[in-house]
């Protein structure tokens, strides 16, 4: 160990040798705060622009609106014709909640089957499931559209919800499979000795222990559904059914006059549910990704 008298007296040395806790904290936190500023700047600019007259069209760097106004929010909230933006929020919420329920219902059951039940071709089917993660969604767009159109489901929410109830989101199934595999089999065996079948083991043993993975699935599903543009674009024709991303797109017009201020204002509002959900489920989200079923 080095002698204290022989240590150099510079700031870097003091930090290295932990002589000044304040200096150390400053040296560690200032760069992090600077990085945070860089990362948050676009969001702050967006919020500032949403209160700006002319929506900062000059491309200024400052995110402080010179002459603040809430007109952008008022105009944006009016939506299209008789359809207010609140309708788009309600539609997005409906689809997002439906998607969460669908994924939780179908992915957990599929995952339990792959993790705990022996059946013919299980390995091959699981490999196929994993391969579907690699399949670009664009490949299936037109065949899927033709199927739903033939079933008379275009211009309804069913094409956006039905797939969620059939475990098409293989990533979540894989996530929950891995989580269930971390739960000791002895818990299943104990339940089986007590007379439980697969359904009871699934409902009473596995599902409660999967809470973090379910939260992860729910949050990611919410974020994806809330932000999904292509699905609603193809399947929802009537403006009364539009979701928030489609509603936002209505403010831009490459062939005429865009309403950029309203676009910024409604974009800010559309971020609120995402931030709220993420903040509420942050701890479970981390647990779902970083831990196994037993602590």
């Amino acid at each position: 160990m080095a002698n204290a008298d022989s240590r150099p007296a510079g700031l870097a040395q003091r930090i290295l040798f932990n002589e000044s806790p304040i200096a150390t904290r400053l040296a560690r936190h200032v760069p992090i705060l600077l990085l945070l500023g860089v990362m948050l700047y676009p969001v702050l600019w967006l919020v500032g622009a949403s209160f700006s007259r002319g929506a900062m069209l000059g491309g200024q760097l400052s995110f402080l609106p010179g002459d603040p106004t809430i007109d952008n929010y008022v105009q944006g909230w009016r939506g299209i014709g008789a359809i207010g933006f609140s309708q788009y929020f309600a539609n997005s919420l409906l689809i997002s909640i439906g998607s969460i329920l669908g994924n939780l219902f179908s992915c957990t059951m599929a995952a339990y089957a792959f993790a705990r039940i022996e059946f013919p071709l299980k390995r091959i089917l699981f490999a196929i499931l994993l391969l579907t993660i690699l399949l670009p969604s664009q490949v299936t767009i037109i065949p899927q559209y033709i199927i739903f159109n033939t079933l008379g489901m275009v211009n309804t929410y069913w094409p956006l919800l039905i797939p969620k109830f059939t475990a098409v989101d293989a990533f979540y199934t894989f996530l929950i499979v891995q989580f269930i595999r971390g739960i000791p089999m002895s818990l299943d065996e104990a339940a089986r000795i007590d007379g439980c079948g697969h359904l009871q083991i699934f409902l009473r043993v596995i599902l409660p222990l999967c809470a973090p993975a379910l939260a992860t699935t729910a949050v990611f599903t919410f974020i994806y559904s809330w932000n999904d543009f292509l699905g609603p674009l193809l399947y929802l024709n009537a403006p009364r059914l539009y979701t928030v991303p489609l509603g936002l797109a209505q403010f831009m017009d490459a062939t005429g006059t865009s309403m950029v201020g309203s676009l910024f204002a409604m974009s800010v509002l559309s971020l609120v549910p995402l931030i709220a959900v993420f903040a509420a489920a942050q701890r479970l989200l981390t647990d779902g990704i970083a831990t196994t079923g037993v602590k």
């Binding site: 007259r53 002319g54 929506a55 069209l57 000059g58 491309g59 299209i80 014709g81 008789a82 767009i141 037109i142 559209y145 033709i146 159109n149 275009v154 543009f229 292509l230 674009l233 193809l234 024709n237 009537a238 403006p239 489609l246 797109a249 209505q250 403010f251 831009m252 017009d253 490459a254 062939t255 005429g256 006059t257 865009s258 309403m259 950029v260 309203s262």
Partner: protein, 431 residues
């Protein structure tokens, strides 16, 4: 009762009068009986246009109780994305917004209906629409697959206030390509630092189309390019020289430019001139106003070439799906969209100058017509007087021609390709 002519005259004349009075209502009643049910109508646009069309639809439905026009509005890029999938799924709306650049993808697959039977029956009137426009709306097999409703001639739009302040002469009414490029280079010498003479020649393909047309060539002859490679080499060379002369917005800035007119460098005052559709003037002027500037933007028709005028006028049109199951209602609404004075007043040339001559004149005469819209209407009238060139475009024109041109212009400006190499590549990729 003995027969007497005078005694019969009165009842007969009354009957004739009654019959004559009742003819029109009977026809109307018949027409209203014919018009029932619903159609889907899809178009591209933003909030402002959507609200106008919503008003028009409400007016039409009020006049024709029992009919429903289901509206399917979308922004420009999303519109074409969805329309392509709907076409693949045989689920096109009865009426769709269409452009000459895009029609080949639908017409070539037999997805659109010929309007001629509706014209012949009188359900749709084209009496007030220029025969040239109607002719240009016909597909290669002669079928009328588009009803032109909004002409969007392209212009060289420039900042007159900035030009005046810098002592730059305004563009003359008639000028050729050499004069145009010379004007830009000369203007650059008078402009303040960080303001360039022009932005990009590739915002849309229309300037290049005019260049080709004014040299006496068709853009496409069927599936092959209809002009010699030298024309394109000359074109790329002109822009390369402008760029080398510092008269263009730098390429690295152009590659980051936002797409909306209001957010463009031109609207932000970073360039003196830009090629823009005349119907973008309101949006551009709005962008100028948003940055607190009172600069006035003006439009000038494109340059002419050795073979005269080469302008191609893109016209926003309506097309009808071949699968439409309510043709009478689709035709009635299309006719209303094109010709109804009240509808025209509501729409107010929102997507190009109204093609109906009577409505056009009425909007020109209306003192309340906003200045940018008036400029659009007058530009369209000038184009009509000066003449234009009809063009037909093959399938995937946007990806084969427009996008390739955009990319190659940038490569020339960045210096990664010479004009000759760019032209070679273009001919390889665009055919």
């Amino acid at each position: 009762m003995p027969f007497s002519m005078p005694r019969l005259i009165r009842p007969l004349s009354l009957a004739a009068l009654a019959a004559s009075v009742s003819i029109v209502p009977l026809n109307q009643a018949f027409a209203q009986e014919e018009l029932s049910g619903s159609i889907r109508f899809s178009w591209y646009g933003g909030q402002t246009r959507n609200e106008k069309i919503d008003h028009m639809v409400n007016l039409f439905q009020k006049r024709h109780p029992g009919t429903t026009i289901n509206q399917e509005p979308l922004d420009w890029p999303s519109y074409w994305e969805r329309l392509g999938v709907q076409a693949a799924g045989n689920n096109l709306p009865c009426l769709v917004g269409m452009l000459p650049f895009n029609i080949a993808e639908y017409a070539g697959r037999g997805l659109l209906a010929d309007f001629q039977p509706q014209i012949d029956s009188g359900a749709i009137s084209l009496d007030e629409i220029s025969p040239d426009l109607v002719a240009a709306s016909r597909w290669s097999d002669g079928k009328l697959l588009m009803l032109p409703y909004g002409a969007a001639p392209d212009t060289i739009t420039y900042n007159a206030t900035l030009a005046e302040a810098a002592g730059i002469e305004p563009l003359p009414e008639s000028y050729d390509w050499d004069a145009f490029f010379d004007w830009l280079l000369a203007a650059q010498a008078s402009l303040p630092a960080d303001i360039w003479a022009i932005d990009s020649p590739a915002n849309n393909p229309d300037l290049l189309l005019a260049y080709i047309g004014s040299h006496g060539y068709k853009v496409y002859e069927g599936e092959t390019l209809g002009f010699p490679k030298e024309v394109l080499v000359a074109w790329f060379t002109e822009w390369h020289e402008l760029n080398a002369g510092g008269a263009m917005v730098p390429a690295d800035m152009l590659s980051e430019e936002p797409g909306a007119h209001e957010l463009s460098y031109f609207a932000a005052g970073r360039s003196l001139a830009s090629q823009r559709p005349a119907n973008a003037l309101a949006a551009l002027q709005g962008g100028v106003a948003a940055r607190g500037s009172g600069d006035i933007l003006v439009t000038q028709l494109y340059p002419i070439g050795p073979e005269g005028v080469g302008d191609f006028v893109p016209v926003n049109s309506l097309s009808m799906a071949a699968s439409c199951d309510n043709v009478p209602l689709a035709a009635a609404f299309a006719d209303f969209f094109l010709n109804d004075p009240e509808a025209g007043e509501i729409f107010a040339s929102d997507n190009g100058a109204v093609t109906n001559a009577a409505l056009l004149q009425s909007q020109v005469n209306n003192a309340d017509t906003p200045a940018p819209v008036r400029a659009l209407l007058e530009t369209f009238q000038q184009v009509n007087e000066r003449g234009s060139v009809a063009q037909t475009f093959p399938a995937r024109f946007q990806s084969r021609f427009t996008e390739v041109h955009k990319r190659l212009v940038m490569e020339v400006l960045f210096g990664s390709l010479t004009p000759q190499q760019a032209a070679d590549t273009f001919f390889t990729e665009a055919e």
